[in-house]
């Protein structure tokens, strides 16, 4: 006999399975522009092996990757290229901003260097350092794996931020506009009754 499970139970378990699969097979797209690229190569090399964590291959084609690691400073001439590569990646995709220059521009506060790629791209993880040690980058990948496990959904709902922002705005606006009618709102009645119960306990 088919058991009619409520929808949310099935989806959450499938979400966990999908998250587990995705987090353990993050294939990086190395967008190495400068010195951090060397450390990225070192992290992928034999001693600090990134393949242990599922990053088996560094695919240089964005169509075959799901994690873009921006390693190094991004100049204004390179930024449209970076954005195009990001758009060519399939969802679900994540972005790690490796090093000080990709995160904030680093020491290069000049006319040509973008002061942080998060001004123009959605970034999930920031790795400080100049350059960050391979262990730091590995820690970032582990943290990103935890983030995917925690927040991921199989449909990629966490990537559509528009709904969440609209919902948040609707909540805020409704709290301002509607006046609270205590006599008819069951939640407030329950809260009031609980408070009186607490007062009774305190005074006794």
């Amino acid at each position: 006999m088919a058991l009619e499970l409520p929808e949310n139970v099935v989806v959450s378990k499938l979400d966990e399975l999908a998250n587990w699969c995705r987090k353990n097979s993050l294939w990086p797209m190395p967008f190495a522009t400068a010195c951090c690229g060397i450390e990225l190569m070192a992290t992928g090399a034999a001693k600090h092996d990134l393949a242990r964590f599922g990053a088996e291959v560094f695919r240089f084609s964005p169509r075959q990757c799901d994690l873009m690691i921006v390693a190094g400073r991004v100049v204004m001439k390179m930024l449209p290229v970076l954005q195009r590569i990001w758009l060519q990646m399939h969802e679900p995709k994540w972005c790690i901003s490796m090093g000080a220059c990709a995160s904030t521009g680093g020491v290069f506060d000049t006319y040509a260097v973008v002061q942080g790629i998060d001004r123009f791209l959605p970034v999930d993880m920031y790795v400080p350092g100049c350059p960050p040690r391979p262990e730091q980058l590995i820690q970032a990948i582990i943290d990103l794996q935890d983030k995917i496990q925690r927040e991921g959904t199989i449909t990629g709902r966490e990537f559509s931020t528009v709904e969440r922002q609209l919902r948040k705005r609707a909540l805020v606006e409704s709290a301002d506009l509607l006046t609270v009618d205590a006599s008819r709102n069951p939640n407030i009645q329950r809260a009031m009754s609980d408070r009186s119960a607490i007062r009774r306990i305190q005074t006794s």
Binding site: P80, V114, S160
Partner: protein
């Protein structure tokens, strides 16, 4: 008592340039020269710059090592704003020479020719004649000077920006351009998660 070890005398790094200086002064008259260690520097007015460069190339300076510019805007004793630096080397005689050409921001351009376009005549850009016919290396070096300083090179076959993006409008290595720029570096569209 320290022991003095006899060291073999090292030959000078570059060959003596007194003969080339003599040829130059014979041909072009008195030139401002200065010598420091093994560096020889001559200052040439812009009107004679191309002839002097051609003469030097015929005299054996077959390599243009570098062509850059210095902006003397904030220099107290400066007479002209831009000082071009030509570093020449002779691979045959191992001589090295530095040629300085000082130009200013003119209002009119006396060297404009029709092929430069109608606006070249009154473009307020410092202009120098291009050394591309003499040395092929001058092509990208002059493009870089144009890009970063705004010094026009007349007769350059393809004078456009080299390091900055083509849509960039300023000349960033001038002294009156701020280090952080004027907002060009952040003038890009923002991609959010919803843009996919």
């Amino acid at each position: 008592m320290p022991i003095s070890i006899p060291m073999p005398s090292t030959p000078p790094l570059t060959a003596d340039t007194s003969d080339i200086l003599r040829f130059l002064t014979e041909r072009f008259g008195a030139l401002e020269t200065s010598l420091f260690r093994d560096q020889t520097r001559i200052v040439v007015p812009e009107s004679k710059s191309l002839e002097v460069l051609a003469f030097l190339k015929d005299s054996g300076f077959d390599m243009l090592v570098d062509l850059t510019c210095v902006d003397y805007l904030e220099y107290r004793d400066a007479l002209r704003r831009y000082g071009l630096v030509y570093l020449l080397a002779s691979t045959l005689t191992n001589q090295r020479l530095t040629l300085r050409v000082f130009v200013d921001d003119p209002v009119m351009n006396p060297h404009a020719v029709l092929s430069d376009g109608p606006e070249a005549a009154d473009k307020p850009m410092p202009t120098v004649r291009s050394a591309v016919p003499l040395w092929a290396a001058a092509n990208w070096l002059e493009r870089e000077v144009w890009d970063l300083f705004g010094v026009r090179f007349l007769g350059h076959p393809d004078l456009r920006r080299l390091v900055m993006p083509d849509a960039f409008t300023a000349h960033p290595l001038r002294k009156d351009y701020p280090l952080q720029g004027r907002g060009e570096r952040h003038n890009f569209p923002v991609l959010t998660r919803d843009d996919g």
